[in-house]
Point group: C2
Chain length 341, copies 2
Amino acid sequence: MPLFTLIKVIMVTIKQVAARAGISFKTVSRVINNEPNVKPETRNKVEKAIAELGYRPNSAARMMRNAKSGVIGFISDEVSTTSASIEIIKGAQELAWQHSKLLMVLNIKPDDDSVKKAIEQLLQFRAEGVIYASMYHKPVSLPKDLHNLPTVLVNCFSPTQRIASVVPDDYLAAYDLTTRMIKKGARRIALLNLNKRIIAAAERQKGYFDAHYAAGIQIDDVYARNAVIEENGQERYITENVLDELLALPEPPDAIVCGKDQLAMQVYFYLAQKGIVVGKDIAIGSFDNMDPIPQTLKPGLSTMALPHLDMGKWGLQYILEGQTHTEQVKLPCTFIERQSF
Amino acid sequence: MPLFTLIKVIMVTIKQVAARAGISFKTVSRVINNEPNVKPETRNKVEKAIAELGYRPNSAARMMRNAKSGVIGFISDEVSTTSASIEIIKGAQELAWQHSKLLMVLNIKPDDDSVKKAIEQLLQFRAEGVIYASMYHKPVSLPKDLHNLPTVLVNCFSPTQRIASVVPDDYLAAYDLTTRMIKKGARRIALLNLNKRIIAAAERQKGYFDAHYAAGIQIDDVYARNAVIEENGQERYITENVLDELLALPEPPDAIVCGKDQLAMQVYFYLAQKGIVVGKDIAIGSFDNMDPIPQTLKPGLSTMALPHLDMGKWGLQYILEGQTHTEQVKLPCTFIERQSF
DNA sequence: TTGTAAGCGTTATCAT
DNA sequence: ATGATAACGCTTACAA
């Protein structure tokens, strides 16, 4: 038996509230919108009626009058299902909530049609803007015609269009992490980098080398490796091979910077098999802070947390402010210290 | 310089389209809604005008007439930031999309006020229903007054209210996993269970024992352990201690069922240190299929995938169908075979 | 096949 | 301090 179906249809309006309170509906409107010039006595009557009838404003009707929907779109391309996405959404959502905005979330396949359909929906809803978020730092291509919908790119950027975007500062993160390791005494820091083609990989490699340079430490290119390769479109980890080679060097590394926590995880496992103790025999650092890996590893993995939450907030803030520029902003990563170095 | 701000305000209406096409606005409405009885010629004229002006229907206005918002709320309590949540959202979102519904996502702190505020928002939007999702299988308490908003609980249930819910079938999953291990030859399967207080833990323990019983294998209670304990509200893993004890048994286990992939991860690490080879010396099975752990571990971890996506879909389907019952539904987990047994 | 009038629930304008 | 009336953009009912 359908329990609520019939009841649902009946929705209380200001007119009904007005009738109940024995006044005109305009006064009810005044009370709802906290306008001045309402006798306290009247206000009370209205509030009583509202409570009794369980009235709540119809936002569709409001939208029609205001031309303000209070809705902000969130489009996310579902390349991968990492916890990254939820953090970005959470950041955006939190700030939206504070500003009494609602987030309309649309997951899409990253094809052009799917994006267009999503934008179409948001347009019909008179969304005040869109946040387009990607799951890792990369270029994206949006449909040419965004129909004047204020747009911001989070964790991605458009190579061809001038659209504001926010991404992590991968260079600085690597620079920071490497510097910290050097300060702790590491002198032969290996880099187990991501797939070359990924932006983060290139940026981090720069940061890694520059940190050495700034500290006056010479580091041989042989220590900087890619541990993720691409084979006919598929990513594959070659952590073990790379580690075999690194440990066979005349001067094996005393520290390893891993391109992401998953790599660190494999490194831990490899070292455990060899009887090498992380945090004692060798220092390990990483990127992402991808829940729950760093805290589950033993010893806890020190890693540079990507600013997913902050990027989500930044994106929303940008929409709220009415799209004031089209620059790219880089947000810093945060070092999360645990016991791996 | 604000680029789009001014343009945004101007929104084309059917009247403008009508003027442009040189007909009455009602005919435009007919075209938009694919009503019959429009001369093809006229239809073309209208469509041309629509394209030229970049008209799109105002859903607020439509909503007012239809009393149908096309919006479904998704409230998620943010106990943890696992990838579970995004999978549930994705499932719901995907189905919503297919039915031309929009998902309004609200993250909340799990306090009563926060939920109330979220429901309030959805009510104002005349949402057609709410999906309340939790990040792990557990009881939740909702505000008493749901204001006749059709509600469904995903990955959780209400002990006090009669609200439909969908949860994973933890019992069956454990039964299935254990049976598979037995079939592969395991005879002394240890269970490294979750925090006792968690529903999944109890259900899985039952499934684990029943599978043994069904296979006619006697299993001593000493093999079934909790590897997660609670210390003043904080969860703590004691994987290593438990493994120490298990391996010291006169007949150490030849297989281990782990309560979640994180535990399996710690088990792998422990065994690597001992020189015990997973998949050869010992079989490992687990629950969750929490990206990216099982595929990153070597050898790949065979695990029972929780039906997050399916539960999301189920929840949405339930709302679409108009809340036909208030039962609890259990969805099966899926065995993902890798190389750990 | 096309058009007119009314009304959805709200807010803005102007009167009282 | 309160109320009447119009208007927002659309759909439904009815008429032409």
